[in-house]
Each structure stands twice: as structure tokens, then as C-alpha cells.
């Protein structure tokens, strides 16, 4: 830091002075990722959702609904395992996205955000770091899911396809995180962020092809599921992991991801900057 005088900044007012470069951005984001990881070390319970969610959902759907849905798929419970696991895998990014707003909101209610916002750092850094750590949590949850899935008899036929669908889930999840970060900034408390997330995601998740094929649903619901991006996401994952056509659903999913990010990332960053 220079030792210029307090009252003589005229020479330092050049256009763009003080702008934060890409390397500084990465450094700041890195430091904040470290902070968020230290949080997890300090409070390992915060990983419980990432651990329990895949276990509970897999067991619940496979053993409660699996038998009967599997019959309509023409192969019993085992057929349903093959159907639902790619769907659950696709969902992981989304479910971690839901939690991001809650933690972010808590940060705001402590004074620490004031400190960050009064520091000369790129204001996106705080948000990028949050997303990076949520993606790490998502990878952890995905690994857990995979273990449980194999234990209940899931047959991995295409590892490359599996990795690709994990990647797609991460892309869609981070797009969705911008929405939840925005909610985390604008809503008053963590509980309402959570409730809001639940209310929005619940109908989207169940009104999709994630858990069951949509052909037996009534026409009006099928119209909804056809346009629900979560159906495209789940169908892409299924295609990638088990084989089958993916191109159309893949583009739809990527399109949604890009659109959500393009719209919501600037909104989230702007709301973060101007929060009073």
C-alpha cells in the first residue's frame, strides 16, 4: 500500500483506478472459499443434509414407490432403480442450491457482511465463493448417492455418461443458486428463504419426470411437465447414464441454465451491492 497523503488523490483519479482485476477476483474468491470450508470444519453438522438427503430419498423412492412404479415400467423394483437414480442424480445440484440462500441470509444478519462489503473486493467474490462451496457439497452428496444407489442395485453402465450428468447437474444447480442467493439477500430471515425455496421447488420436482414417467399423468399436468426444465434435466441424465437420445433435452437444460444465470446473476450481485 502506498504512503500517499490523505488529501491528495487527484493524481490517482485516473479512469478505472481501483478496478479489481481477474487475478484479484480469483484470490478474493479463494480466500472466501477457504472461509466457507472452515465453517464446515467448525460445524460438521452443516453437512448432514448433503449426507442424509441422498440416502433418505433413494431408500424412500426405491422401497416405498419402487415396486409399483417399477411394475408399470415392466420390470419391478429393479427397473425403477435404473429409472430413478439418474433423476436423483440430476436433482443433487438443485437441492444444494436451495440451501445456499439460507446460509447467505444468516451471513447478512451478522455484521460480517458489512465488513466484506466495505472492503475493496469485487462484490461478486462473496457470491462466487458461496456457489463454489455449495458445488463441493453437491459433489459430496452425489458421491453418497452413488454409493447408496449401487447398494440398492443400481447398475452403472456408462461412467462417462455419469460424469457428464453430474456436470450437467452442477451447471443447472449453480444457475439456480443465483435465484436463491437473490432470495437470501432480499428476504428478511433464513426461515422465509427456506420456506420459499421449498414452495418453489417442491411442485417443480414432483411435477417432472424425475420420480416417475409422465405418460400416466393427466393431460394438463403433462403439458406442465413437458415444459418443466427439471424434466429435461432428468431425461438428459437418464439418456447420458443409460443410453438413449439426449440432444434435445440437453440443449433445453443448458438453455435454461444460461438464461437463469444471465438474468439472475446480475440481479443477485446488484441486490448484494445495494442492500441497505
Amino acid at each position: 500500500m502506498s504512503s500517499a497523503t490523505v488529501a491528495a488523490p487527484a493524481a490517482r483519479l485516473a479512469q478505472g483506478e481501483g478496478r479489481i482485476g481477474l487475478r484479484a477476483h480469483l484470490r478474493h474468491t479463494g480466500a472466501l472459499v477457504r472461509r466457507n470450508l472452515l465453517w464446515i470444519r467448525q460445524d460438521p453438522e452443516s453437512m448432514f443434509d448433503a449426507l442424509l438427503f441422498p440416502v433418505v430419498f433413494t431408500l424412500l423412492f426405491v422401497y416405498v414407490f419402487g415396486g409399483s412404479i417399477g411394475q408399470s415400467l415392466g420390470g419391478g423394483q429393479q427397473a425403477y432403480v435404473q429409472y430413478v437414480v439418474p433423476g436423483l442424480m440430476a436433482m443433487m445440484g438443485m437441492n444444494m442450491a436451495q440451501g445456499v440462500g439460507t446460509g447467505f441470509n444468516q451471513d447478512f444478519n451478522s455484521g460480517v457482511m458489512d465488513r466484506f462489503r466495505s472492503l475493496p473486493i469485487g462484490r461478486g467474490s462473496v457470491l462466487f465463493a458461496k456457489i463454489a462451496v455449495e458445488l463441493l457439497r453437491m459433489l459430496f452428496a452425489t458421491a453418497v448417492l452413488l454409493v447408496v444407489a449401487v447398494l440398492v442395485g443400481f447398475d452403472v453402465t456408462d461412467w462417462a455418461g455419469l460424469l457428464a450428468s453430474v456436470g450437467l447437474s452442477a451447471v443447472f444447480g449453480s444457475a439456480l443458486m443465483w435465484v436463491f442467493l437473490t432470495l437470501g439477500v432480499i428476504m428478511k430471515n433464513a426461515q422465509s428463504v427456506q420456506a420459499m425455496g421449498f414452495l418453489v421447488l417442491m411442485p417443480l420436482q414432483f411435477g417432472s419426470s424425475i420420480f416417475a414417467p409422465t405418460d400416466s399423468m393427466p393431460g394438463w399436468l403433462q403439458a406442465f411437465t413437458d415444459y418443466n426444465p427439471l424434466s429435461s434435466l432428468a431425461d438428459t441424465a437418464r439418456g447420458l447414464m443409460l443410453g438413449g437420445p439426449v440432444a434435445h433435452d440437453l440443449w433445453v437444460t443448458l438453455g435454461w441454465s444460461v438464461a437463469l444465470t444471465a438474468v439472475m446473476a446480475p440481479v443477485a450481485i446488484h441486490k448484494f451491492r445495494t442492500k441497505s
Binding site: 500500500m1 504512503s3 500517499a4 497523503t5 490523505v6 488529501a7 491528495a8 488523490p9 487527484a10 490517482r12 483519479l13 483506478e17 481501483g18 478496478r19 479489481i20 484479484a24 484470490r27 478474493h28 479463494g30 480466500a31 472466501l32 477457504r34 472461509r35 472452515l38 465453517w39 467448525q42 460445524d43 451478522s110 455484521g111 460480517v112 458489512d114 465488513r115 466484506f116 462489503r117 466495505s118 472492503l119 475493496p120 473486493i121 445495494t274 441497505s276
Partner: protein, 340 residues
């Protein structure tokens, strides 16, 4: 390594002109003007809801003012926020440390965010923990710290970047007297190193201890400004509380002091219940004269204490109304209402 030059006379580190900030219908700041001279401490004294925190938040780029302008170290708060953030340090009334991180990790994080290389950030964290007597607690989560330790950690965090201007927003609200003194000592040390400080407080005593000049605010407006001594004189200065060992001496003592004939010395009052004579004094000379007079009459004293006027008394004498009258009109998001 500070940003201050020892120029005779000194420039102005903070200039605020006509600053206005509304929250809905409430004017948290209603045209505030003030200056902080380089290397000095300006105390901003006011009750809850006076707009002190809003002022600090505007000056640290956390809020955008609705009208007026302000510069800090020559940088405009609205047009040059990035540059401005490089030269300020902020310690809020809510100790803004990350409770889940250790003291060391808190400081290291801020160091990295201020672009210190890893090695320097580590060294700076160690150095500041040492200086603020936190070395022993360095590896413990800040959640386990006492209130005083948190404030010290907060101060340390705001010092990492060698700020030219430091905002202390009610740094001792909610602290016990001993801890408060610790914080004051640290602030005095920083000032000794040339940092310019804008201090908000509700306590006349704190302002007197730390500040050289005082701006009194109420309902978003500046209602008085001047040197500490001027303002003290305007609001009646200190009160000397003299308690004789023998309560029977109370009346003779009061009579003797009344008969002193010190110019400008207002009349004494007798607090019979507590067995003390109250003598308002405007200057150190008057105080010395009173103590001298008591000694000359060989009255044995149990105690002599000086009392500063309370914020309420300051307000009463400056404005004619009690402090903080419009408290309920201030929205919660100005964040001045919640006690620590």
C-alpha cells in the same frame, strides 16, 4: 505506515456536506455537514436513532446517500467507492467478526481480501493478535470470545490495511467499564499513530476521553459543533461532587464554597441524601480553586469526584428537549435501535 503526512495545520480527511438519507418517510440523515481534520478524532454524539450509524454506513459505501456529498481521503463516497474502500477501516457496534472462524483466521481472511501475499497476511495476523492481546485465544473460534475480546478482534481486523480513516461506530456500547477502558486505550494508541477517527457514541464521557472535536446530532441533523471544551462550557461543564467525612460539615462546606467568589462559578447544591455538595465547574482552574478552598478550611473529605453531564443533560441544554425523542419513528433497518 499510515497515509497521514505531518503537515502543519493538517488537511481535512472527511468532508460531509448536506448529506441526506431517507428510509421511507423517516429522514435518518437530514442535511448533515461535518469535517474531520487529518489525524484527529471527531466524536459524533447523539441518542439512538439520531442517524449516527446511517452516517457511518454512508461514509463506508454500505449505503448510498439520497442527496448531498461526502469525500473521505479525497474520494467521493458515491463516485469512487472502490478507491475509498482502500483507505477506510470500519468497526461497527455489532462486532463484525466471523464467529465460526478463529481470531487468527478472521485476520488472515481480511489480510488476503486486502491483497496481502499469504506470508504477509500470516505475519500481519500474528502481529495484530499480539498487539491486541489475543495471541492466547488466536486459535479459538471467535464465538468463544468475551465481548471485549470480540471488539478488540474487530478493531484489529479494521487495522489490517493500515487505514487512513477509521470509523468507530459506538465501539463500547454494551461493554462493562473495564473492557471499555481497554478499548479506549487501543483507540488512543491508534490515534497516536496518526489515524484519523470518526467516532460515534452515546456517551459524553467517551467523547471527552477520545475526541478533540464534537458534533452533536439529533434526528438526522447537526445541532451543535465545536471543540470538546467549548461544548462542555456550553452545556455546563463538569460537576464536582465533594463528600465530607462528617455529614455535619455539609452545610458549612456548601456555604464556604458559595462564598468563594470564583468568577462564573454557579451556585452549589446540597445533596443531603448522599451527603455531598455539588459544585458545577467550568474549567480546571475552577476545579483547583474549589479543592484548594476545601483544603484551606481543613474539612476532612471522604471523596471528591467529577461528573460529566450525561447525554440527556447535554441535549437538554443544547436543544431544550430530551434526547432521542423520536425513537419510535426510526425503522429497524437503520440498525441503531437494537441493543448489543
Amino acid at each position: 505506515m499510515t497515509h497521514i503526512d505531518d503537515k502543519p495545520g493538517g488537511g481535512t480527511a472527511v468532508t460531509v456536506r448536506g448529506l441526506v438519507k431517507h428510509f421511507g418517510a423517516t429522514k435518518a440523515l437530514d442535511g448533515v455537514d461535518l469535517d474531520v481534520r487529518e489525524g484527529t478524532v471527531l466524536g459524533v454524539l447523539g441518542p439512538n436513532g439520531a442517524g449516527k450509524t446511517t452516517l457511518v454506513r454512508c461514509l463506508s459505501t454500505l449505503l448510498t446517500p439520497d442527496a448531498g456529498h461526502a469525500t473521505v481521503a479525497g474520494y467521493d463516497v458515491v463516485r469512487q467507492p472502490r478507491q475509498l474502500r482502500r483507505v477506510i477501516g470500519l468497526t461497527g457496534q455489532y462486532a463484525s467478526v466471523d464467529e465460526k472462524l478463529s481470531g487468527w483466521e478472521n485476520l488472515y481472511l481480511i489480510g488476503r481480501l486486502l491483497d496481502l501475499p499469504r506470508k504477509r497476511a500470516r505475519a500481519r495476523a500474528d502481529e495484530l493478535l499480539e498487539r491486541f492481546s489475543l495471541t492466547e485465544a488466536a486459535r479459538r473460534p471467535a464465538a468463544t470470545y468475551s465481548g471485549g475480546m470480540r471488539r478488540r478482534l474487530d478493531l484489529a481486523a479494521s487495522m489490517i490495511g493500515h487505514p487512513a480513516v477509521l470509523y468507530l461506530d459506538e465501539p463500547t456500547t454494551g461493554l462493562d467499564p473495564r473492557t471499555r477502558n481497554e478499548v479506549w486505550d487501543e483507540v488512543e494508541r491508534m490515534v497516536g499513530e496518526g489515524v484519523t477517527v470518526l467516532l460515534t457514541t452515546q456517551y459524553m464521557e467517551e467523547a471527552e476521553q477520545l475526541a478533540s472535536e464534537l458534533t452533536v446530532v439529533d434526528r438526522g441533523k447537526v445541532i451543535a459543533h465545536g471543540g470538546i471544551e467549548d461544548l462542555k462550557a456550553r452545556v455546563g461543564g463538569r460537576t464536582l461532587r465533594v463528600r465530607p467525612a462528617d455529614p455535619a460539615q455539609l452545610r458549612p462546606l456548601a456555604a464556604a464554597l458559595d462564598g468563594l467568589g470564583i468568577t462564573g462559578l454557579a451556585g452549589t447544591t446540597v445533596d443531603a441524601e448522599r451527603g455531598a455538595v455539588l459544585v458545577p465547574v467550568l474549567s480546571d482552574e475552577q476545579l483547583t480553586a474549589v479543592v484548594g478552598a476545601v483544603t484551606a478550611r481543613e474539612i476532612t473529605l471522604a471523596s471528591v469526584t467529577t461528573e460529566l453531564p450525561s447525554l440527556d443533560e447535554v441535549f437538554l441544554s443544547l436543544t431544550g428537549h430530551r434526547a432521542g425523542a423520536p425513537q419510535d419513528a426510526v425503522p429497524a433497518d437503520t440498525r441503531e435501535e437494537v441493543p448489543v
